[in-house]
């Protein structure tokens, strides 16, 4: 009896927290809100070269889902390899760093222990766990624990896996993030942060979709970049692996987005 009551309560919570409301109401983010439900565990994969893109996408999706305050857990190894977090840069992504708590742990085991504690803290909006390398301890069991804790407490957990290969996990969704060429501004200056995102896996949903998005810090929203082949015509095609695959998904989601793309470059 008690168990079924608990189950009902849990399902209710998931149902109510599952779809964060978007202040803007623009349809662009639908893909993200469907994919990245609150109170769940999500995995974001990025190669070592794209570490900043992975972290940037994580921050941006926290902001898009309005899931602050954030606790960011990293290991000393990631601080050594990836550089330290730069608050000014985070502010420029749109994050309110006064609410950010950074936890620096010694190794992977203490990373998971600290994560288990933080995942139970109702006061948090998002728990960001950053790990570098293969991190074999973040396995199916560990992710299942985190997932259960997230469902119980309502904390969204983003597991940022840099330089790791996807392994079986209990995460609700899995994303692959890579840097994407931005739309340059005047005088050939690099533009807003742009990401090449692939939804590798989604529990109970369609997967294998790809988007190319740009982060609008002022509106806290992802804009689809209209696929402008001419802009890339001069580049080597190797820089855009699988460009052909992405077009279909891009077009479907970006039809209305194309209208208000600002031309700055």
């Amino acid at each position: 009896m008690n168990e079924s009551l608990a189950l009902i309560a849990r399902l209710k919570r998931i149902a109510t927290t599952g779809m964060p409301t978007q202040g803007d109401g623009r349809a662009d983010d639908a893909w993200l809100t469907q994919g990245m439900a609150k109170a769940q565990l999500h995995e974001i994969f990025a190669t070592v070269d794209d570490s900043a893109s992975g972290a940037g996408f994580a921050i941006a999706s926290v902001l898009a889902a309005k899931a602050a305050p954030v606790m960011w857990l990293r290991t000393e190894a990631s601080e050594r390899q990836g550089g330290r977090l730069h608050a000014t840069g985070l502010v420029e992504m749109g994050l309110d760093v006064t609410s950010l708590v950074l936890g620096l742990v010694e190794d992977e085991a203490s990373l998971l222990r600290a994560a288990a504690d933080a995942a139970r803290c109702h006061g948090l909006g998002t728990l960001l766990i950053e790990s570098w390398g293969r991190a074999p301890k973040i396995d199916l069991t560990a992710t299942r624990r985190l997932m259960l804790a997230a469902e119980a407490s309502g904390v969204t957990i983003l597991s940022l896996r840099i330089g790791a290969e996807p392994v079986p996990s209990a995460a609700a969704s899995r994303w692959q993030v890579a840097a994407c060429r931005s739309r340059p501004l005047e005088a050939d200056a690099p533009g807003k942060p742009a990401f090449d995102i692939e939804l590798l896996r989604r529990r109970g949903g369609q997967a294998g979709l790809r988007w190319r998005v740009e982060w609008d810090r002022d509106a806290h929203i992802f804009d689809n970049i209209a696929f402008d082949q001419t802009a890339f015509a001069s580049d080597d095609s190797a820089a855009l692996p699988g460009a052909g695959v992405s077009v279909a998904a891009d077009r479907a989601a970006a039809d209305d987005a194309a209208a208000f793309v600002r031309r700055t470059g």
Binding site: G83, H86, A87, V91, V101, G103, L124, L185, P190, D235
Partner: protein, 489 residues
């Protein structure tokens, strides 16, 4: 001192020596050695000639001090106010503390018994003031019916003056403290200095010297004594929880909450184990405290070992701050904040306080010095960060390398322009877009020779955005080097 070495071997005289200005001299002696006629200050050669069987050890003042500190810790089972009387004395303020022992004699007996187990010979004395007790314990006078007269019968050496003054006093025919006291204070002060007069006033009780306690007495302290030592850590923790509840009630009466807590577990064999915790905000939440204590125990290098059991558990609130009765906030805003603060305390207790951090803005134009990472538990009120300009892309990276990583510019660049191709981490990057330079000068008001940095925001052909700089202008040096300072999202 290694007293355990000497337990039950009263026969051999023992001496501790130290090397003073080229010669090895006796520093401290045991009872047997004194009985054999030795005294501190003698050279080792002389002493050996007189007492050939003398056992000699190197004197280690530091170890002695440490041992005395440990004894003082242990003595805190009797009173919170314990002072060191270097090199070999302890002063305990037992006012109001004897009720546990039905009188001071029983307390002294208990103390002597415990110390005897450690192989220590103790001489103790009671006094109305710390100075009389100290004098009575250190110097032997003729027997007397009460404290006042006992002090008077002490030798003049008990005044603790320097050797010349002591000799002068005895030459003047003043053999005991009482003799000196009988004289007008003014003449003593004129002849032997203000110090001597002060000491006399202290010994006759008209001035009370302070006890300089090793630690400040906590505002709130609660304790439990056990007739039978408890050997299970779990049970000791339950006791601690009860004590925390008591302390919380006392704190609530004062409208305060504790920020720094110290639990001490006194083992029956004299060892004291301390557990210190700190919270970012004043609290009276027992469940939270116990969680933090458990975290602390988990993080100990050696696990908590009850040994033969604890016979006293004490909890002190070392720092308390204003905390009014908590009120549930309907919006949940305050409650949420509190939960994050609790998490910060919990992780800080386990990982170390400095590892859980918050960012704080700092007034500097040097990028790596423009912000501080402070322990989250003690971070100041958040400072507003400069809001980024609307419509601009991020101008600062999210990861910053400290120190910046050298890169190799592989193609000649135009002066005051970024490289067109560079190598970083064994990968070649072709620059597609760039913006700059953003010139950041060194802090020339501190040092003159710091080269200027010219920063460029660049994007390579694969869409990766970097923050690179040239260290020095071409006018400043011949071949300035390039560095990669950070990566953008």
């Amino acid at each position: 001192m290694r007293p355990h070495l000497f337990v039950g071997r009263a026969e051999t005289p023992i001496a501790f020596v130290e090397t003073v200005s080229g010669g090895v001299r006796l520093k401290a002696l045991d009872r047997e050695a004194v009985r054999a006629g030795l005294q501190p200050g003698l050279t080792l050669a002389d002493a050996r000639a007189r007492v050939p069987e003398l056992e000699v050890y190197e004197h280690d003042a530091h170890a002695d001090h440490e041992w005395l500190e440990r004894l003082a810790d242990g003595c805190q089972r009797y009173t919170p106010s314990v002072a060191l009387d270097e090199p070999d004395g302890l002063i305990l303020d037992i006012a109001g503390c004897v009720h546990e022992f039905e009188g001071e004699r029983r307390l002294a007996a208990d103390l002597e018994e415990r110390l005897a187990r450690r192989g220590l010979l103790v001489r103790h004395a009671f006094g109305d003031t710390p100075d009389t007790a100290r004098a009575l314990a250190r110097y032997a006078g003729a027997p007397a019916p009460d404290e006042k007269r006992a002090v008077k019968r002490l030798p003049v050496a008990a005044l603790g003056l320097d050797e010349d003054a002591t000799t002068a006093l005895s030459r003047a025919g003043l053999k005991t403290v009482g003799d000196v006291m009988a004289r007008p204070l003014a003449t003593i002060a004129a002849r032997f200095g203000e110090e001597a007069a002060m000491m006399i006033r202290r010994l006759d009780g008209s001035v009370k010297g302070p006890i300089v306690a090793r630690r400040t007495v906590a505002k709130i302290g609660v304790e439990r004594r056990f007739a039978k030592p408890i050997a299970r850590t779990e049970y000791a923790l339950e006791m601690l929880a009860e004590l925390a509840t008591e302390a919380a009630v006392q704190l609530a009466d004062r409208h305060e909450g504790g920020r720094r807590w110290e639990a001490r577990l006194f083992r029956a064999d004299g060892l004291v184990q301390r557990l210190r915790i700190e919270t970012g905000q004043p609290t009276r939440d027992v469940a939270l405290l116990m969680r933090l204590f458990r975290e602390r125990i988990d993080s100990l290098a050696d696990p908590l070992d009850p040994g033969f059991g604890y016979d006293l558990v004490r909890l002190d609130v070392a720092l308390a701050e204003k905390l009014d009765a908590s009120q549930l906030k309907l919006e949940g805003g305050e409650a949420q904040k509190g939960e994050v603060a609790q998490l910060v305390d919990q992780l800080g207790t386990r990982l170390g306080r400095t590892r859980v951090r918050r960012f704080s803005a700092r007034d500097s134009h040097i990028p790596e010095q423009a912000e501080l990472m402070l322990p989250a538990a003690e971070a100041p009120a958040p400072t507003p960060w400069t809001a980024p300009e609307t419509g601009e892309p991020p101008l600062r990276p999210i990861y910053l390398f400290d120190p910046p990583q050298p890169i190799e510019s592989m193609m000649a660049e135009v002066p005051d322009g970024p490289p067109h191709r560079f190598r970083w981490r064994r990968t070649v990057h072709d620059v597609a877009h760039s913006e700059g330079p953003e010139r950041i000068a060194g802090e020339w008001w501190r040092r003159q020779d710091i080269p200027t940095r010219d920063y460029y925001r660049i994007e390579d052909r694969r869409g990766r955005r970097f923050w690179i700089f040239r260290h020095g202008l071409y006018s400043e040096m011949e071949a300035p080097r390039w560095y990669l300072h950070g990566v953008f999202a």
